[in-house]
Symmetry: C2
DNA sequence: CTGAAAGCGCTAACAA
DNA sequence: TTGTTAGCGCTTTCAG
């Protein structure tokens, strides 16, 4: 079943059928009608391989993320899928399972023209790898900062978001805010963890409050089990604190659970705030206050940039596109009544 | 940069380059070496659009699921991605956001040969829609049963899994097992909810224990907020129960949290068991016992079936492939000591 | 406004 | 063992 069959059925040329399908202007009503009718009489569908070869486009994007099992990424992926769909693009999703070699493979596969553009959330790549991103194909980087790549970055305002959370807690009168999941001694200087920790420090500094490093609690990972363990450690060591800023929502879930377990009232004794504004956080008990990193905006901005690049036929220059953050204040640290 | 360039560079014919790339036998070492060298001197990559058109294959699968934000599906998707990858296939992921029209669109798009096969998790489609699945392209259905479709189904053993959970609780001495998320009066007869409820009833019946319908607690949705609300209702109505079987893990999370809130000890006063064995469930406090529906096996079986269909060149006949389930017993309802 | 024809880059049948 | 060649089905000039 090819276009030639349709052309024959309608008694017109293949070119006309193609024009009809691609909504070219200047076609008589009559011909359009006949073609339309032939198409659905025959149940014709264009063959995308042929179209792709000829047009040099696939209307497919490649999304490469570290791990779909992490809520943050699955929600991000869902948003990106929706946005791409609106623009008429499909998405090939690849999970690198936190594996550098996989990240590089996914990038290399862009050479085959199987997708029109790449949205990459790099996690394990290092500066040594950025040469792999050379090329003229449409590319957008997400999240973690990777310097020296000649492409747009859509980033979370980690520093500002963390600072905003901290200001909020300070405004609520908290003075000993523990940071769960902190990176007190930045190694990979630009991980979300260290930037968020930095934002916290900055907010304290702006208010002339000294930062007590014993409040910076490092954790093994960033799952709820780690949040829970952190609270145990804090309580057992006799640490004094009147708020917890967990650097992601999963940590915060564990924190909430363990505080309750230990009979610490939230938010009365201790306020708790997270980061990510994952869907399920709104349904915790108490519901979790958290920093909304603008996931939907990230999805939208990333897809828009990629598509603009696809349409312009070349990669956009390096630039940083910041997504708007906001605080989603819920029961674990309610908004302040106006004074 | 085409194959002709490589051929020219290596001083051979395009056919030889193609043979080399497709690992045909019968090629002299010398020629292979020269081609290999030319390829990486030029940094050549095959153009997949051209290959796809010519070969009639894309080495792409389409995965259509209701919602990536639901943990169950994001974990399933991750497993399917991994499995497909092992077989050298990429995956176009589409989320239907619980929307019947989207499901139908995704199916219709198979006509364009943009993917070699479809793995579909139908949710909103009805028997009226199954004609849309007619065709000869490789297809595997996941989860919810859809009768009359001429393709393999990979299914969870909902009934058996639910019965196993129930037997486990009965063996532990529980006699009043509340079912949260139950479907007491099946409407869509073959939803997971009603089958699991059925499995529960069946287990009671097998032990000659009458089923008290007041223990079947319906919920609005299947999120943790619903589980929480269910416990409130149960407690407030004075319902007596010594165990809760939540029909999915999210419900169970809410149940655990609210029981703790109300001072009900788990598992001492009330045992709790869920269904899905989602990753995060192992990190709840107490850690959640749950039915492992064999997600990895589902991913493997689905991908294997699709690929076998792709390779055989046509759709496999209707058949039901059941994934092995098991109980993941953790703190919320520990395994029984041997008597 | 419509049609004829030239490929897009590759694979596979066939010839050598 | 290697090379020649005919398309795969479509889009897109360009002529009519």
């Amino acid at each position: 079943m090819t276009m030639a069959d349709v052309a024959h059925e309608a008694g017109v040329s293949v070119a006309s059928v193609s024009n009809f399908l691609n909504k070219q202007p200047y076609m008589s009503e009559a011909m359009a009608a006949r073609i339309a009718e032939a198409i659905d009489r025959l149940g014709y569908k264009v063959n995308s391989s042929a179209r792709n070869l000829r047009s040099g486009r696939t209307r497919l994007l490649k999304l490469v993320i570290p791990d779909l099992r992490q809520v943050y990424f699955s929600e991000l992926a869902e948003d990106i899928l929706a946005e791409a769909r609106q623009h008429g693009y499909g998405v090939i999703v690849e999970s690198t399972t936190n594996n550098r070699a996989r990240e590089l493979e996914s990038i290399a596969s862009m050479g085959t023209h199987s997708a029109d553009g790449l949205i990459l959330s790099p996690l394990m790549m290092t500066v040594d790898d950025i040469a792999a991103l050379d090329g003229d194909y449409p590319l957008v980087l997400l999240g973690e900062r990777l310097f020296g790549v000649n492409a747009p970055h859509v980033v979370i305002r980690n520093r500002e978001g963390a600072a905003a959370a901290t200001y909020h807690l300070l405004d609520a009168g908290c003075r000993r805010i523990a940071v769960v999941g902190a990176v007190p001694h930045p190694e990979h200087d630009f991980s979300s963890g260290s930037i968020r920790t930095h934002g916290y420090r900055e907010a304290l500094a702006a208010r002339d409050i000294p930062c007590d490093d014993s409040l910076l609690i490092e954790t093994q990972g960033w799952g709820s089990a780690d949040g829970l363990a952190a609270v145990d450690t804090m309580l057992e060591s006799g640490l004094q604190f009147d708020a917890v800023f967990a650097l992601n929502d999963l940590l915060a879930w564990g924190v909430l659970r363990e505080l309750r377990e230990r009979g610490v009232a939230v938010p009365d004794d201790v306020r708790v705030i997270g980061f990510d504004d994952v869907e399920e956080s709104a349904y915790m008990v108490p519901s979790l206050s958290t920093v909304n990193p603008g996931r939907e905006a990230i999805a939208r901005l990333a897809v828009e940039s990629i598509i603009q690049q696809v349409e312009s036929g070349s990669r956009a220059p390096a630039q940083t596109i910041e997504a708007p953050y906001s605080l989603s204040l819920r029961e674990s640290s309610p908004a302040l009544a106006c004074a």
